[in-house]
Structure formats: structure tokens, C-alpha cells
Amino acid sequence: MIPVLMSLSPLVGSLLSLFLGRRQREICCILSSLISLILATTAFISVKAEPELFLSGEIILDGLGALTAFLISLIVLLASVYSPRYMNLEEGKHRTYYFLLQLFNFTMLSVCISNNIFLIWVFVEATTLSSVFLVTIRGDPTSLEAGWKYVLLCTVGLSIALFGTVMLYVEALERVGESGILWTELIKNKNILNVKAMETAVIFIIAGYGVKAGLFPFHWWLPDTYSEAPTPVSSVLSGVLINCSFLAIARFYLLSPSGVASSLLLLLGIISALFGSIAMIGQANMKRLLAYSSVENMGIACIGLGAGGVGIMFSIFHVFNHGLLKSAAFLSWGGVEKSNKAEVPPSVAFSLILSFILLGGCPPSGIFLSELGVLTSVVRNVLLAVAYLISVFTSFSVLSYNAMERGLGRPAGGNSSPIWIVPLISSAMSIAIGLYPSPLLRVIEEFLGGAS
């Protein structure tokens, strides 16, 4: 029952926070995300190779789900600890902010644990809807416009995914019968499914969820939303929201890792990696730069997924690392925004430079390992490897240049309030993973063993 409790606790927290005072609401928000983190860690530790089912198959607890759930609850906890000090909202907005933040947390956690293919779609759509008013909390025309684009593009995109899911379901109905709606049933007897029909279904699903994940032709809403949303929200959006859609893509892709689907993923991946890194070059606004870096990293993850074999393991590992470090980068950038423009407190500058360089892929960070892993899976095809290297090196140099440009140079001063510790936690965790990655890799391997 752990996964159900894990996802319900933020829901309860959000409902409760509606009736509390200002200070208690913040504490209740932090408490509920803390509880969900503790439950997620217990689930992650107790996860076994075989996925466990609850509530007659609707809820599933497997390696991939537990890993993403752990990351989500951690990042939301960091954001909810960070936002009281960062955001100063008047009463009305304050209530909606904390209510929606926990609701957002609930929807994302339930995406990780839902086994029914339609429920995955429902909860991914719910994540969009619950995060819209978080993006437009500032209320000025640009944030409203960003919210408008976010909802419209995501809803249209996800309806394509719905098409794909329905086709998948029809196909499953014929072959597997009534229980075909459960992902675990599908994965068990995936070889008897008709390859031709599955292909079109998986194509539509990849295109649909690709919109949410931010792959190249569908990513247009991403830079506007991240640059307009308040920093803790955009750290959660960029850190974990794209993880959920990546989880959906991975689950459905594993059903039929056929030639066409994998070449589509490779194609989309390499284009988004190249586009993301080159688009980062000229960016003046830091948050847009980080948005394009998300596009690039999702491209790298899709390349790993498409390349197959060891690539799949490293792509899941890459998405996990990227989530950690992207939220660290956003939170430390929030610290810089908070201090007045004249001077940067040294501690904030330190966390900014550290998280940006680690995000770029400097050795001790987990991203260096996962990028190297994805490269080894793609190194056979020289052209792909060269394009991959170009995108990785460009993104590294642009990120570190901007870190140096903004971190150094201004005299040390200003109020370094203790919020800079928050991004340091996730950077330190990423360095620890970078140096000792085996527990995570073991869990992913067991999951992949079970799934294939």
C-alpha cells in the first residue's frame, strides 16, 4: 500500500492547506512532501525485479516508477522548502500557490505508479492542468500568454497520445483480452501483439508524449513556460515534469522496441540534442537557456532509448541525473535573482557555478557518466556520435561560460540567506551518484530485465 499512500499524502496536504493560515500552510506543504519523500524512499529501497501490483492491478510499483517517484518527491520537497523564502505573494495567490503545488505533486506521483494505460494519460493531462495556474501566478500578460500556450499545445499534443493509446488498447483487446488495459499484462505477452498495428500506436504515443517531454518539433511551449514561471515552479517543471512524460514514452516504447519506433526516437533525439545545444548559444535570459538545455538533455535521453541495449539503462539514468541538476541550477539561479543586481553573495555564486558546471557534464557529476554511457551505445554510427559530441561540448561550454559570466565578476556582498543550501543538497547528491552509481544502475537493470 506504500505507493498509494505516497501519492495520496500530497493530495491530503493540498486539500488541508486550503483551510490553514499563511505560516501553517507553508509548513503543511513541506510536511506533506516530506512524508511522500519518506514513503518514496521506502518504496525505492523495497522495489524488486518483479513489479508488485495493488488495487487489482491499477497501481504498480516497479524500478522505473519508484526511481521517478523518489526524484519527484525530492525535487518538490526542495521547491516547497525554497518557495516560502523566495516567493512573497499576497493572501489569495499564496493559497492557490501552495494548494496547486501539492496537487501538482500528487498528479506527478500518480503518473509513476499507474498501471492502466489510460490512467497514465489522464494523470499526465492532469499534471498540465494543475501546473497552469502555477505558471501564471504572476498575473502579467507575458506569464498569462505563456500559460495559454502551455495548456493549448500540451492538450492538443496529448490528444494525439490518446489516439495512440486507444489504438494500442484496441490491439491489446484482440490479442490479450479484457485485461489488456494493464501495462504489466501487455509487457508479459508483448511478442504476440501484431507488430504493424503496434508500430503506428507507438509512433502516435511517442509524438504525443514528446510534446510534454519537449522533443524538438513539439517543444515550442517549453522556453516560454520556464522563463515566465517563478523559479521554484520552473525548477519542478524542468526537473521532474519532463521525467513523467519520459517515463510514459519509456513504458510504451518497451512494449514494442521495433525498428521504426527506435529510428524515430533516434531521429527526434539527435535533432533536439543539436537544436537545444545550438539554441542555447545566444540566449541572454538564463531561464530560457536552461529550458533549451532541458530540450537538449531530453534529446540525449531519447537517443539512448532509441539506440537500445545498454543505451536504455543509461538514458533512464541520464534523465534521473538531469532532473537533480536542472532543479539545482534553477534554484541557485533563483538565489542570484533574489540578491540585488549589484552584487552576488559568494555562497550563492559558488552553488551557481557548481550546479551549472555539473549540469554541463563535468566529470564528477552523474551526467558525465550517463552521457558517456549513452555515447558508448551510439558510438557505432560515427555520424551520430559526431553530432552527439558537438551537442554535448557546445552545451558544456555555453553553460560554464554563463556560470562564470554571472557567478564571478561582481563584488561579493548582499544578504546570502541560507536558501543557497537547498540547491547544494541536490548537487552533492549528483556528485555522490557520479562517483558511486551502482545502486541506481542495479535497480534500472532489474527493471529492464523484468520488462524485456
Binding site: 498575473g139 498569462l144 500568454e145 505563456a146 492538443v156 489504438m167 479484457e178
Partner: protein, 216 residues
């Protein structure tokens, strides 16, 4: 007069109403047209329920009747009053050009849908191309119209297409699925309308061409 023939006849009428929704300039009348289309859709659902004998299809028709026929148009009219938008801003495409495009979409979809969706053996083969047409016309509407409210209407129209596709193929799926999908669709529409009102209040206009400050 067997039910299948009636089902096909109703679906073809929906195609006509969809073109009407897109082309009518006045927002109020186009939302009425949307109400008519949703009514026909609910009728389709009831026919499917009768044909397949699935009890929860009746539930589905009841919920779609309440929400799509009553709730959404009401919300749309409430939004039209709050924002004071009488009719749509002149779209970029002239009338004849948009008619021609829609016709082209309808014909091309009818031709290619069998090859792309090889689900010949499903109970309602005819509903697949029609739902695709509804979907693509909705998308075309959002593409070509400048007014935000009109885009919301095209979104609802697209949702109808998706729900028809869902109902005609996945009619045996459990109830939780239908409730989830329906609530998501309605919630999206309500949120969009609320934001349209906020936009009108804050940005002063609903013309999406002017709402494009975020670049590169």
C-alpha cells in the same frame, strides 16, 4: 431502419456541424452550433450503447449530455459576456479559402485513414474517419483563427472528435477511464475560458497575434 445506418447518418451530420462551428463568425451562434454537435454525439453514444449492450455506455451518454450539451456552452456564453467579445476578429484566411481547405482535409482523410489505421475489423468502421475529420477540422480551426475564445471552441470541437474515436473503439474500457478523460477535457476547457477572461482583463485583447511577446 437498423441502428448502424442511423449511426452512420448521424456521424455524417456531425461533419456538417463541425464545418459550421468553424465558419460562423459570431461566437454565440457558433457555441450554439457546438451544442447541436454535442447533442448528436451523445445520440451516437446511446446508439453504440444499444448496439453493444454495454451498460456503462449509457452512463457515458448521460455524462456527455450534461457536460457537453449543457455545461460547456453555458460556460462559453458566460465567458463571452464577461469578455464582451461580440464576434470574432477577422481571420487571416478568406471564407472561400478556408472552405476549400476543410473540404480537402475531409476528402484526404477519408482516403488515407484505412491505410493508416488498419482497424477494419472493429464494430464501427465508419466512425474512425469521421472522428479523424472532426479532430483535424478542430486543429485547422485553431490554426486559422485569431480570437482566443474561438480557439477554445475549436479545442472543444477537437475533444468531440477524440471522444467519438474513443467511444467507437474502446467502448469496453472500464468506467474510471471515461470519467477521467471527460473530467480532463472539461477541466481544460474551463481553465482556458477563465484564462481568456483574465487575458482580456490584463492584456486588453484576445487576439493571439498580439499575444506573442515571448520570442526566440
Amino acid at each position: 431502419m437498423d441502428l448502424a445506418f442511423l449511426f452512420r447518418f448521424l456521424s455524417s451530420i456531425m461533419v456538417i456541424t463541425s464545418v459550421a462551428i468553424i465558419e460562423i463568425r459570431d461566437l454565440r451562434r457558433s457555441s450554439y452550433a457546438y451544442m447541436v454537435q454535442s447533442a448528436i454525439l451523445s445520440a451516437d453514444f446511446s446508439l453504440i450503447a444499444m448496439m453493444t449492450g454495454e451498460w456503462h455506455m449509457y452512463l457515458w451518454t448521460m455524462s456527455s449530455l450534461i457536460t457537453k450539451v449543457l455545461l460547456v456552452p453555458r460556460a462559453m456564453i458566460w465567458a463571452i459576456e464577461r469578455t464582451g467579445e461580440r464576434s470574432e476578429i477577422r481571420p487571416v484566411l478568406p471564407l472561400t479559402a478556408s472552405f476549400g481547405l476543410e473540404g480537402a482535409i475531409i476528402i484526404s482523410l477519408f482516403l488515407i485513414s484505412p491505410s493508416v489505421f488498419p482497424l477494419a475489423e472493429s464494430r464501427f468502421p465508419s466512425s474512425i474517419p469521421i472522428s479523424l475529420v472532426l479532430f483535424m477540422i478542430g486543429i485547422f480551426g485553431m490554426l486559422s483563427r485569431r480570437c482566443a475564445l474561438k480557439q477554445v471552441l475549436c479545442l472543444c470541437h477537437m475533444e468531440n472528435g477524440v471522444h467519438l474515436f474513443l467511444a467507437s473503439l474502446a467502448y469496453r474500457s472500464p468506467i474510471t477511464v471515461e470519467i477521467g478523460i471527460l473530467t480532463d477535457a472539461i477541466a481544460a476547457i474551463v481553465i482556458l475560458l477563465y484564462m481568456a477572461i483574465r487575458l482580456k482583463h490584463v492584456a486588453g485583447t484576445l487576439d493571439t497575434f498580439k499575444l506573442s511577446l515571448l520570442r526566440w
